[in-house]
Amino acid sequence: MSAELVQFLLAGITLGAIYALVALGFAIIYNASHVINFAQGEFVMIGGMAATAFVDSGLPLPLAAAAAVAAATLVGLALEKLAVEPARNASVVTLIIITIGASILLRGLASLVWDKKIHSLPAFTGDKPIAIGGATLLPQTLWVLGATVVAVAALWWFFNRTLTGKAILAVSHNHLAARLMGISVRRVLMVSFGLSAALGALAGILIAPISFTSWDIGVMLGLKGFAAAILGGLGSGPGAIAGGLALGLIEALGAGYLSSAYKDVFAFVIILGALVFLPNGLAGRRAAERV
């Protein structure tokens, strides 16, 4: 493998890990509520912005990160409680508009609470590039990858080994049946919004040292995360991760070997092709319609 290819793959995996975290947030909320939360990118923004603000106010990095995740989780819970729950029975499009409204609101609030500048977090463990097979990567990239793996493992454990996690899965399959079994759908919704806000915030904190953070980074990341979630098959956890990594690799390889100006176009052309020709998503979970 040429050093060039290794470098492209490393770039793709770094991008992909971030997209995967955002996509997982989409998948968790979609599973519990069949809502596509277009404010998901704002959780990423809140995580990064809050963490930098806390660090600037003198908190040590680990504390600041924890506080930022907590702040984003609160915002996620509030979003569910105040906006999504009152509109539970509205149509898909109406819910989309509500979450878009929420994302505008959150962006506006962020620009007021903080500012419109670009901020950065210090890298967790330095900036010295690490050489691998002729290519290089930053230590922070390892943090991103490591934290993504840990987060995915923790989620797997949560959904397969804990009662609350299993309840969320049950609700995702059938609201009515879950309710009959005594599972509180409302609590499940709260938990899933909180969880996906926390995941988004985690992504925001992890990437702030690499690609910085500002009040408006949520738009693009949310869009890419949605694309990754769809590419993997909506509502599938492994699909979201596969979709995220695939999208990251497509972008990096497209930019490297074809044309960097058109890398987003390749990415979307491939997504369109996958949607039309692979009707079941990468993870094969796209449900068929039953009559």
Partner: protein
């Protein structure tokens, strides 16, 4: 009868007093939000700050300034609507604004038709070339930035240049200008890469540049966080060729974001960035130091050259109003066009019927990041 005459005289006096106090209306449309907020935000703050200061000092020609300002959010159509609003509804005397070239160009047909003097804060050459009767601008053009950079590259013996540009208007316009003037300045563009808005990693593009044979220098046309990410990735990949940024990142923020990776990066910028370290003999020192202090003490944040463009725009307008002796639009325009030797944050401005910007390459200083700060390249 006597009383009536007195009354009439009183009314007349009152009327003329009101006339004298009729404010001078300054219209502004800036990208305070949106992707170009980092331009519009300091511009907006600068205008507010200096309108307040000028009014506190008694205004211009005994009249107060009144600022009408709208957020066009980098959207040309919004800019258009607001320019109409400023001209038709707010009846402003002079326009300052258009943070981006797109917003400016959308406004040009309107101001030409309404015949209102307009000072743009955007970069591209198309704004003043060909000359438009009512349109002026304060920042250096992107073409000048390319020329300045290419000259510096050649002086260091680099003639094979790689470009990496963002997808925004500023980025694309500068890239196009650089491609145009490269050969005239003795350099050859051997690689031409781009990245998108909101991209978080540019190592793929830079790897391609790194593996392009013969690259002797690299230039990044862009603004916002993109260039800081490019800078970090550049060092990560260990590319040795001299690295240049554009005047689009001429703020302390860029150095802060990029950290150690910014060491040795060069860019052309106005003297504002190195205000304090300018030699006392430098004629520009006073104006840039004053502006920097005012801005930083008021807003507790680092000054940028973009706010400086707004400062120059407002001051050029005020200067022209003074010389025109009022707000007659045609007279203001003529006064603007005959601006000579005005010392602003961007440099000395000498306008003419052929040049509605009035800056030359000497106004641009080549700076290099040294020990986390800007230093003048001798």
């Amino acid at each position: 009868m006597f009383f009536r005459t007195l009354l009439a005289m009183g009314t007349l006096a009152l009327a003329s007093l009101v006339q004298a106090q009729e404010p001078i209306r300054i219209g502004a449309f800036l990208s305070v939000t949106g992707p170009a907020a980092f331009l519009g935000d300091p511009e907006q703050k600068t205008l507010e700050l200096y309108v307040e200061k000028i009014n506190a000092a008694g205004g211009v020609l005994g009249r107060k300034l009144q600022l009408y300002s709208y957020d066009s959010a980098g959207d040309a159509e919004k800019a258009r609507a607001y320019v109409k609003r400023l001209i038709e509804q707010d009846k402003v005397d002079v326009l300052v604004g258009g943070s981006t070239t797109g917003e400016t160009m959308a406004a040009v047909p309107l101001v030409e038709a309404a015949q209102v003097p307009f000072i743009s804060l955007a970069g591209a050459v198309v704004i003043i070339e060909p000359v438009k009767k009512w349109v002026f601008k304060t920042p250096h053009t992107d073409r000048m930035a390319c020329e300045k950079i290419f000259d510096d590259m050649r002086a260091r013996g680099a003639t094979k240049v790689a470009l990496i540009s963002g997808a925004g208007g500023f980025d694309r316009s500068m890239r196009a200008e650089c491609l145009k003037v490269a050969s005239a300045h003795g350099v050859q563009i051997v690689a031409d890469e781009s990245y998108g808005a909101g991209d978080t990693d540019m190592t793929a593009q830079l790897t391609k540049i790194k593996n392009t044979p013969g690259v002797q220098a690299v230039l990044n046309c862009g603004f916002g966080q993109g260039p800081a990410i490019v800078t970090k990735n550049y060092r990560q990949l260990g590319i040795q060729a001299p690295f240049y940024q554009s005047h689009g990142v001429a703020s302390k923020q860029y150095v802060k974001l990029s950290g150690d990776a910014a060491e040795g990066v060069r860019l052309p910028a106005a003297a504002l960035l190195i205000a304090e370290t300018l030699p006392a003999s430098d004629k520009q020192k006073k104006v840039v130091v004053d502006y920097k202090r005012e801005y930083e003490s008021r807003f507790k944040s680092e000054v940028s050259t973009f706010g400086g463009h707004a400062y120059d725009g407002l001051m050029l307008a005020v200067d022209a109003i003074k010389r025109a002796g009022g707000t007659d639009r045609a007279k203001m325009r003529d006064a603007l066009e005959s601006t000579k030797g005005y010392m602003g944050t961007a440099g000395v401005v000498n306008m003419s019927a052929k040049d509605h910007m009035g800056l030359d390459l000497s106004a641009f200083r080549m700076l290099e990041v040294k020990k986390g700060d800007w230093a003048l390249v001798q």
